[in-house]
Each structure stands twice: as structure tokens, then as C-alpha cells.
Amino acid sequence: MKTKGKPVWGLLGPYALWAAVFIVVPLVFVAYYAFTDNNFTFTLDNLIRFFNDRSQMGDTEVRTYMLIFWRSLKLALISTVICLLLGYPLAYIMSRASDRNQKIMMTMLMIPMWMNFLIRTYAWMTILQDTGLLNGLLSKLGLGSVHIIGTEGAVVIGMVYDYLPYMVLPIYSVMAKLDIRLIEAARDLGCNNYGVLKRVIFPLSMPGVLSGINMVLIPSVSTFYISQKLGNGKFFLIGDAIEGQYVANNLHFAAAMAFILMIILLVMMAFIKKFTNNMAYGGEEI
């Protein structure tokens, strides 16, 4: 709440304190650790190590952390695209449903989020295991079995499952607010259902789509644990790498990776923001 441009400092105080203690100070620490060695003298080694560390993979030598980073980015992008393809139609259907059905669908979308993320991931393990629920069902139906657990596919499934609501909700909230008269106007001017969707609903829902992409892409780039459990630890992601270094008490290198990831995410967000501004219309948010 802005009252004529003058923030109410008294009310802002607690939040400012909270932000300082739990956001600003930790960030300063991350940066401080990233640029120092174990003796807390200035060094760029940790940062350089991220780009240069090499290891043997089969016959070829690869840059370990770059490989992990690109893999993280690839899986995050795939998950985001799948979330968008699944989430957009769902958001559209929800926004057009009766009030009662909208509530039901919303609840069904939210219920999994009430459960702990670890439990959800374990649940997917039991479903996707070679001897799990999915294969049990498939063999009962006489369809043989599939090997999913321990593949990139399993990791993507886990990520999509976790992040889908974050894609659906922003798109849904934009679509639900869409002026029904705009749809009638498009029909009036000759659009059939497909034309209305393509020429009015889709462009007007762009702000929701972009914020959905933001909400899914950013956390899924830095995701961890899902990859360990559903990927059988074969597909280390950047989040896992940071966690691993941290657990191994390699705080400075963990901080360096976190710092680099943060910078990359900031750049990505800036890109998306610029893209959003180009797509925005009327010079204002709806």
C-alpha cells in the first residue's frame, strides 16, 4: 500500500528488518564466501573452478560443472515447456468452467501442494520403479513394462508434477479476468472458436504465460533431490552439486556455484522481463 508515494515507515520496519536479516545478509555471505578461500583471503579460484573443472566421462574429458549446468538448464527448459503445454489448456478450461467446477479443479490442483515435497518425490519413486505401481499396472494390462526410474524422463516427470501448479495459476488468474465482451466482439467480427483463442485469448493471456514460465523455469533450474531420487543419482543437477559441496563442507566452492547460478538466473529473468515488456500492450499491466 502506497499512500501518495510516502511509505509508512513504521509499518515497513518489521519487513525491512526481516529482509535485511534473512535476504540481504545471507546474500552478502554467499558473495563473500564465493570470492574467498578457506583462509578468507580474496580469490577467484572457486569461480574459475566452476568453469574449468574437468573429469573423465567414458573416453572423453568434459568440463564437469559446465556439463551439470547445461543438463540442469536442458531439463528445466523441457519441464517448463511440458508444464506450459499441459498447464495452458487446463488454465483455459478452468477459466471457462462454472464457478463450482472452477473451485473443484482449483482444489484438485492445490491438494498435492499440501503434501511435503519429499513425500511427493518418494511417491513418484514407488510409482516409477521397475517393480513399481506403473509397471504393475502395465503388466496386468499385458503391455509389458517400461524402464523409467533413473532416466532423465523420470526427473522431468517429477519436476513437471511439482511445478505444474505454478504454471497454471498465473495463466488462470489472467484468463479468469478476461473481459467476456472482448470474446463476444471477436465473434461478432467473424472469429470462430479457434480464431477467438488465437487472436484474442492467447495474446491477452501472454502476461500470465510469461509469469508462469518465470515461476517454473527459475526454480526448476536450481532444483535438486528430485534428480537424486528419480534419476538414481545419475543425473546430477546444479542444485545437487551445490548441496553436495555444502554437505562436504566445501562452503566456498558451494557459495561460488550458488553465486554464478544466481547471476545466470538474474540475466535470464532480465531477458524474460524484456520480452514481457515487448509483448505488453497499452503500456500497462492488466
Binding site: 472482448l182 466482439a185 465473434r187 461478432d188 487472436r199 491477452l204 497499452g282 500497462e284
Partner: protein, 383 residues
Amino acid sequence: MKKIIELKNISKSFDGEKVLDNISLDIYDNEFLTLLGPSGCGKTTTLRIIGGFEQPDEGDVLFMGERINDVPAHKRNVNTVFQRYALFPHLDVYENVAFALRERKVPKDEIDRQVTEMLSLVMLSNFAHRKVTSLSGGQQQRVAIARALIARPKVLLLDEPLGALDLKLRKDMQQELKKIQKATGITFIFVTHDQEEALTMSDTVVVMSDGRIQQIGTPTDVYNEPQNAFVADFIGESNIVDGVMLEDFKVRFSGHTFECVDKGFERGEAVDVVVRPEDVDIVREEDGMLRGVVTSVTFMGVHYEIIVDIGGFKWMIQTTDFVDVDEHIGLSIDPDAIQIMKKSEYSGMFGDYSTYSDEAEELSEIELGELEEFESAEVDYED
């Protein structure tokens, strides 16, 4: 004249509430027809049924003789100027106007030619690449008209298009709409709750109330010869008193027998008598057909509006002669100033100015503005 749209016995209910009750209406080619009535009278629903946005529960909609009940909106040769315009906020002025042509896959240079022509018709040539959200209400209004007209409809539907504009702009747009209608030769069906707007613009006025058509006629018809108390009251100011038809051309009311120009009633039939405030002459008390006491005088600029108590019934009279409050005056009414109407369900509900007080006069411009806004906001809930 050729019939372009016919509504036959249309009824429509929403949630069990009857919004249209057996409406029949013929609309002719090239005419400017206005659906006039208060909020909730069913005028917008009628328009939406013609546009294809609502289906009638009963009855048929005919377009050039063909039944179009089941033809969806995008296949009807009818376009709409929506209430509050409904311009596409993600497109600029040019693209809003070009919308229908792009849907029809018209070649690019042809679109360019037609959009340019349309924008000059609505005097927005310099605004082609402006964002629609940066335009004033009047300009948005013109874009909405251009966007609908470019589709070359047979019929243009306008849903309270001037409701959101201020008075001055509204007057200008009334003239302009009329001009555009003449220039294009397209049938306009115009919805409004503003009786003055209806009278100045229309060839035909359809007065609606409670989901039924009360009267169809030219503006002069509905003003001079209202068919019931509702129409008489809704259009202009009216004194409506109970009377008895003694014989053809003779009516008795307020204790006096008047000559009139109406006939065809039963002898002794109870009727509603309408006398417009501007049709009453003030004379000396001893010369008056009716006598009364002035209870209030309001200066209106061109004339005075005075309230006269005649045997307990308060009349409104508009006159350029000055009279004083508490003055005893006589009234004289010419035969052709008296309009006789059959009794209807609206009898006794309108036309008495006894509740009309100075307080009503003191409503400021702002309050009136708010009232209008309130009324037009209400229209949204009508359907």
C-alpha cells in the same frame, strides 16, 4: 420498404425471470431504429438476440426472410458496437479496425485501403498507430464504430454506445452517428435509456418496459400520441389525469369538459388524459378552464417550470410568462393539446407532480452525473 429483420413472438427468461415477453418487431432496411426504455426493460437482451449472443426461449428471428435462430454470431451479417466499446487492448487502432478483414484473409493492400478509408470516416486518420488505451472515450467510441462498420454489415447494433461520454461529446456523436448512418445506408439498431437521444436520432422509436414493447412509432408519434401512461411519462414531461370520454371529441377531467381531437372510445369510458406542460396556456383566473394555485416556480433559462395545484392534483406547466408562488391562475388547454389514452396497467403510476419538490431541483450536476453512471452500471445486470 424492405424488412431486414423480423422478431416473431420472442420470449426469453434468465433464471426463471422473464426478461422478454412475447416481443414482435419488424425492422426495415436503411432505418435508424432505437430501442428505448429504462434499465431492465429487455432492450439489451433484444439486441443480443439479434446479434446472436443469446438464444430466444421461444419465437423466431428472421434475417431477410430466413430464420437465423441457430446461426452463430460470427456467421451473421450483423455487427455490434459494444457498451464501453470492448476494444482489443493488445492491438493498436489500425489493427482493431482491421480485425474483421484479417479474419477474412483480405489481401494486405486492400486492408490498408479500407482501414484508411474507415479511419477517415470516423476522423481518426492520425491515430492509426496509437494504442487504444491511450485514447479518450470519444475516440475509443469512433474506433469501435469503425471496427464494426468495416465488416460491411447489413445491420449495425449499438448498445448504449454514448452512455460513457459527457454531454457535449454525446451531442456531437449523435449528429455524427446519424451522418454515418445516412452515408453508409446501413440499418442501425440503437439501444438507449436516454429519451432525448432516441427522439433526436431515430426514424423509429420502440419504447420498451417490463420486457414488452409499449409503443412503436416515429419520434413525433411517440411524443405527441403516447399510447399509455408509461410512454407518456418516460418520454418528456406529462401531466396525466383521470378522465371520462363523454362522446367523440368530448372529454371531462378535473371538473371541466374539454373539446379534444380523439374519438373511437366508448361513451363514458374511463381514460388517461395527457397534457404536455408546454401545451398549457396561463390566463387570468376568471378566464381559465381550470383554476389553481402556484406552489413553486423554477427558472430553467428558456422558460419557467411551475407547479400548479388544481384541486389537489399538481400540474407541471412550462411557460415564458412570469407568475409568482401562491398566485391564483387560470389554465386554458387547446383541443389538440389533449391526448387521450386507454387505461393500462400503468394508469395512476405516473404524471402527478405532487412529489415533485424543490429538493429534486437542487440535485447538483454532479449528483445527476452519478445517477446516470449508476443507471448505466445497472444496465450490466439487466440480462
